[in-house]
């Protein structure tokens, strides 16, 4: 691989710009395929460039057959994001597990003293109100949102904004009773039952988790399950 190609690839990734690396497995010649153009020394027919673009969009590594030999398409999309509302004690192991699993983690809490403590050095921290932060971060279909504050003033606006996004996972910490009350409040905000069913509450897989780290594991396990196996798993 040419250094300049690797530098361009790293720059695109740094900028959050999706890019696929196409490699001829015989010659080693390579091409960077962006949504809107290409660069590199591998010649690819336009239909193959289109196929590479589709692999990028689907975020799936693919091998294409071309007259010049097989070409491996390696997609590099910006990482999925995990947005955690509430810099409470569970947020620390959850942020760490999210980072380990490859998510770009943002912890949102307007209560400065909470997020100022140790444990959040490795992740992005926002002091905005949750609805402002989520409006700015615009969760997409590959992003997850988890609320942990227990405080309706913070959790409800966050869930309100998250429900209007295509986030693949929405979870809210709280007991069954807390969650039932939460659903009633959100209903008053105009959400229908099937929309509210998107919220995983009580959050996390039922594994008897007790400590903050165990609860974070149960949440991350459910996020992973939903991402890899879908909502009905």
């Amino acid at each position: 691989m040419k250094r300049v190609l690797l530098d361009d690839l790293l720059a695109a990734r740094e900028a959050g710009r999706p890019v696929a690396l196409a490699t001829n497995l015989r010659s080693g010649q390579q091409l960077l395929v962006y949504r809107d153009g290409t660069s590199g020394d591998l010649c690819l027919d336009i239909d193959m460039v289109v196929a590479a673009g589709e692999a990028l969009k689907a975020d799936r590594g693919t091998t294409l057959s071309t007259p010049a030999g097989e070409v491996f398409v390696h997609p590099f999309n910006p990482p999925s994001r995990l947005i955690v509302v509430g810099a409470v004690h569970i947020a620390k192991p959850l942020a760490q597990l999210g980072s380990l699993a490859g998510y770009g983690v943002t912890v949102v809490d307007p209560r400065r003293a909470f997020a100022a403590g140790p444990g959040f050095e490795e992740v992005a921290v926002s002091g905005e109100w949750p609805d402002e932060a989520l409006t700015r971060l615009k969760p997409g279909a590959s992003d997850a949102v988890v609320t942990l504050t227990h405080d309706p003033k913070l959790d409800d606006p966050a869930l309100d904004t998250a429900l209007r996004s295509p986030a693949f996972y929405i979870g809210a910490l709280g007991s069954r009773k807390t969650h039932a009350a939460r659903l009633l409040r959100l209903k008053k905000r105009g959400f229908a039952d099937d929309e509210l069913q998107r919220i995983h509450g009580p959050v996390g897989l039922s594994i008897g988790a007790l400590s903050p780290a165990e609860i974070a594991i149960s949440i991350m396990a459910q996020v992973t399950q939903t991402r890899r196996q879908g909502e009905d798993s």
């Binding site: 691989m1 250094r3 690797l6 490699t23 080693g28 590594g61 491996f72 390696h74 997609p75 490859g102």
Partner: protein
Amino acid sequence: MSEDILREAAKWRKDGRGVALATVVSTWGSSPRPVGSQLAVDDKGVFIGSVSGGCIEGAVIKEALDAIAGGRPRLLDFGVTNEQAWDVGLACGGKVQVFVERLE
């Protein structure tokens, strides 16, 4: 944070070390690491990342050192049917194809 193999490889190269990249380009059956998994190797055999659960790393690193020395990219096949199965076969019974290239 998860390992950033490409960034590390670029840094190694900038420091003047010889570097090769290995990438899983296809898998069949049960294979421990998905397509796109990468491993970076320097000219001393120091490596980060993985292309299997540890079963084929040794063989891939040997090929990577060859690629650093000679420059030719290569496509490696591993699996239970491989002649080297006894020492570098995949315990899980899957097959995996790994592309190895030098970082110029």
